[in-house]
Symmetry: none
Subunit: 131 residues, 4 copies
DNA sequence: GTGGTCTAGACCACC
DNA sequence: GTGGTCTAGACCACA
């Protein structure tokens, strides 16, 4: 797994985790990988994974059974949506529109980018399912 | 000037500077405030301003005359647009659409947010011009 | 370590670093000394070392893993050679020949100086290995 | 006139001045341009030219008649050669060979560069005399 | 432990 | 006056 330099690694892992929840890869009460396993898999320090799990636990998305492992909370998907949506609507969206405006781009320009984005995604998914 | 805690101050200063360029407050070949003056004005350490100016200089947005001061580059606005646009189109836009998609939001939902954003901006501007 | 007064210390550190790369003391993907360790070793302020490392990172010669340290880039030697060679061939060499010409010196004169230089170097190396 | 960023402007002016002496453009006891005239011509601050002239005067290359102007010293050319040669032989040449060695270049490689340099100079001179 | 950032204050060369 | 550099020391997030 590759990480960007502009954000803490443990948060990037959390982002990916949230994606997986929303995409239905992990469902309510599913057991998620152990700290050690995940650390090996994505090649980061175990402490970093611990920080991710603590972060997600504080958000109520996962919970921990002592000596057993971490599990997706019963309302994990709702909590995930709440987490992402709050940040998206109140922070990302306004910032996005601000930059859009500075660059003299309109919502219609976005429509064009959106078409491109969707066709790229389709291509990627086809390739993935072909693998 | 107030700063957020999620990004280095010197980068937030740089962002504001880019905005000012795009809004036409500073034009090509204009002399910009000296390191010391700006430091006093926005209440940060001179070294922090130095870091901002070096950063902008590396991006080709400003240049410096020894012992005279910093100036907006002749193609400063183009460089600024290039800097912002590159990051926006290739990083922010795709990430934005990705989150949008995860949250099951459509471009039409964005249109609603955009109306809200614009009306907020108008209110703000009216307040500013009233001050 | 001793420094000349005609060039910024952080650049002299960078020069020494480049030499070490080219002499094979540090190889691709080697971890280089931490900012603090190097600062202590060569008796400069940690901030000065930071400036050197940021400079080398921008040149693509080293890279950094968050919370771990700095490492020589995979193509660190190539980047180093590119950096030195570009400046040497397009700036230093022509300036050298220009001065040579002004002083009425020929390449054959240089050959004499070169012999002297090499014998001095040999003497120095013998002394070093004797130490 | 254009200046590099890696050396003080007053020294770059002094260098050009020395070249002119060695190329015979200014001869012993010639009057050289006034501070003001030269400052206008090469577009620098008059104080900078003053600094150049003081520097050259300290080296014995020019002298000053109060209220009249600056003149090339009787032994100006010898002093100029002495100045350049000292720095060249003891500083530039060793540094040049050091970089040459680090880059694995031989004196024979220099011979190639020298041919290129000379042919470029010839082209330039032909163009100048055609103007 | 690591690097990243910031403050405070100093000295310097330069224009 | 200007920017460039350096020191000293601090705090923080991160691995």
């Amino acid at each position: 797994m590759e990480f960007r330099g502009d954000q803490a690694i443990y948060l990037q892992i959390a982002d990916t985790f949230c994606e997986n929840i929303l995409l239905g890869k992990w469902k309510a009460l599913d057991r998620i990988p152990s700290v050690r396993d995940l650390a090996v898999e994505i090649e980061v320090n175990p402490n970093t994974v611990v920080k991710t799990y603590i972060f997600l636990q504080e958000k109520g998305i996962i919970f921990n059974k002592r000596g057993v492992g971490y599990f997706v909370a019963e309302d994990g998907m709702e909590k995930t949506i709440a987490l992402l949506k709050e940040n998206f609507v109140y922070t990302e969206v306004p910032r996005f529109f601000k930059t859009m405006h500075l660059l003299n781009l309109s919502l219609d320009d976005m429509r064009v980018y959106y078409q491109e984005y969707k066709s790229r995604e389709n291509t990627k998914n086809q390739k993935d399912s072909a693998d």
